[in-house]
Symmetry: C2
Subunit: 316 residues, 2 copies
């Protein structure tokens, strides 16, 4: 008897990672490619085909489908649409290209939505029907699950919590507006916070000596008791807690799962975020919403999430 | 052959309105009761039974079910839960009481959710799968529809957009917090805006002569060209537009339907709200989201919405 597998592909501006993922969330035959090697998206399709088709046959796998997570990925069209950091410009119908080549179910969505589906299939949100997924990386990505379904919206672009506004006179955002949540609450956001404070030359902190300030430096300084770094986590958590309380008022989730660079700070981020979230919550939601760390391994989550699109679809 | 009908009940702190609603959204046999007449909820059930059972038989109707809209109504439990303005305190399992007495499907939700379902069945959102319903009455109520389903959340209390925060140092809200959207964008909110401005005694406006300032007075003054009243609509629209742009980033709806007292101001509210919403929208959503007036008659909408719960459920 053949073993069911799904091919998960995590597409980024720098790297493309692929693996076969079992229906229990286990990875095998992982491969990494440099995105810039593929001048045309069809070259990627050809490379993946060459890498995996023989392998699938030899190992007696049955391919249930191909799931992809990509920046600006649209589930409805199966396309990457105008992704600023990808070498392929315009609208790239990647799911269609894979479906034609492999002759199997091929689905694509954005990274945060794929993470949400992965968390629901194999991670912290297993068995939940209503939760929010928040990815705290370079930006703040989000996936909204309600009634057991990912909310794509009428155009496939729902779930941009990172671009709700925290401060209308706030920090310039890459989207062209001001004060978006992700300019404060992300790995990049906490670095901006510290950089702003360092411009006051009287501030004493270990971080002043860092040549290349990163969220990881700030985390390590905070763990070592650096007051400025600790204050930066508290500041980030206050804004995140406030905006999560607002998000709860829209879809009333059972849990909020935090994933990615900044979420790895653990209690340093989770404890104050939970405190500020509860302090800002409407009374009907108070002490009902769990704030959970992702249960997927950071280096596997994106591929597992992508492959989960297939398993989630087959369950319907 | 019998004609299908649903009994719609709109429950408020002052009045309770009932009617039979056809599967085309037409009302018949409307009845109004004073809420204070019913010391116990079971008295209401007995009164409605007495009023409608014979009537349903005589007119050869088949009762598909009873739908109710009520403040703090929870769809999952079928109960009114701790509604501050109702004579019945605590948790009132009204859907269960009706189901037992009538032996039929009985469903209950809050007013704004009922309005959303009504709008989807018979009104401005007919045929839509993703939209937001906003009711601008004493407060700001909301119903969120995604993938053709009302989003109730894990506890039945989703959709409190009126209690997302616009200004953390803003106006005190009845919920105990500060700066909730509904303290600005509601019939009560626009009155507060004008009252705040009137405290500056140099301001010239017709509205200074009003004994009992209402949203309707402000609307009429604005229509007559009163500068302060016009500015109050623009101020309200700016805040509403900004927060609607944020809400769009969560569920990416095809349309936003505005209903209730303040929405009756028509172009005075819709035009600036649309302008500010677009100005604050993330680029992926720009010029995609319709801002629509409700197509339900104001005096019928709550009953039609309540009855629609039944028709919507039967369609599943």
């Amino acid at each position: 008897m053949k073993t069911t597998t799904a091919l998960g592909i995590d597409i980024g501006g720098t790297n493309i990672c692929c693996a076969l993922v079992s229906d229990e969330g286990e990875l095998s035959f992982e491969q990494n490619f440099s995105t810039k090697n593929f001048i045309e998206p069809s070259h990627l399709v050809a490379q993946v085909y060459e890498t995996y088709v023989a392998l699938i046959q030899q190992n007696n796998f049955e391919l249930a489908g191909i799931g992809m997570g990509a920046p600006n990925g649209n589930f409805f069209s199966g396309s990457i649409e105008h992704a600023p950091n990808m070498p392929w410009k315009g609208i790239v119908p990647l799911a269609k290209l894979f479906a034609e080549k492999f002759n199997c179910l091929s689905l694509l969505t954005n990274d945060a939505n794929a993470a949400a589906i992965g968390e629901m299939q194999f991670g912290a949100a297993k068995g939940m029907k209503d939760f929010l997924m928040i990815t705290l990386g370079t930006g703040l990505g989000s996936g909204v699950v309600s009634n057991g379904q990912l909310i794509y919206g009428h155009d496939g672009f729902a779930g941009e919590l990172g671009h709700t506004i925290y401060d209308y006179n706030g920090r310039p955002c890459g989207c062209g507006r001001k004060g978006c949540l992700e300019t404060y609450c992300s790995a990049t956001g906490i670095v901006r916070t510290v950089q702003e404070w360092l411009s006051d030359e009287t501030v004493i902190t270990y971080l002043r000596n860092e040549e290349n300030l990163t969220a990881k430096n700030i985390y390590e300084a905070a763990k070592a008791g650096d007051a400025l770094a600790l204050k930066a986590f508290d500041f980030t958590a206050e804004i995140l807690g406030r905006k999560l309380a607002d998000a709860v008022a829209v879809t009333s989730p059972q849990a909020i799962v935090l994933f990615g660079g900044l979420a790895n700070a653990g209690a340093l981020l989770f404890e104050p975020t939970k405190k500020y979230m509860e302090a800002n919550m409407l009374f009907v939601y108070k002490n009902k919403v769990q704030l959970l760390p992702s249960l997927l391994k950071e280096n596997e989550a994106a591929i597992i999430g992508a492959a989960s699109l297939i398993y989630h679809q087959l369950k319907k």
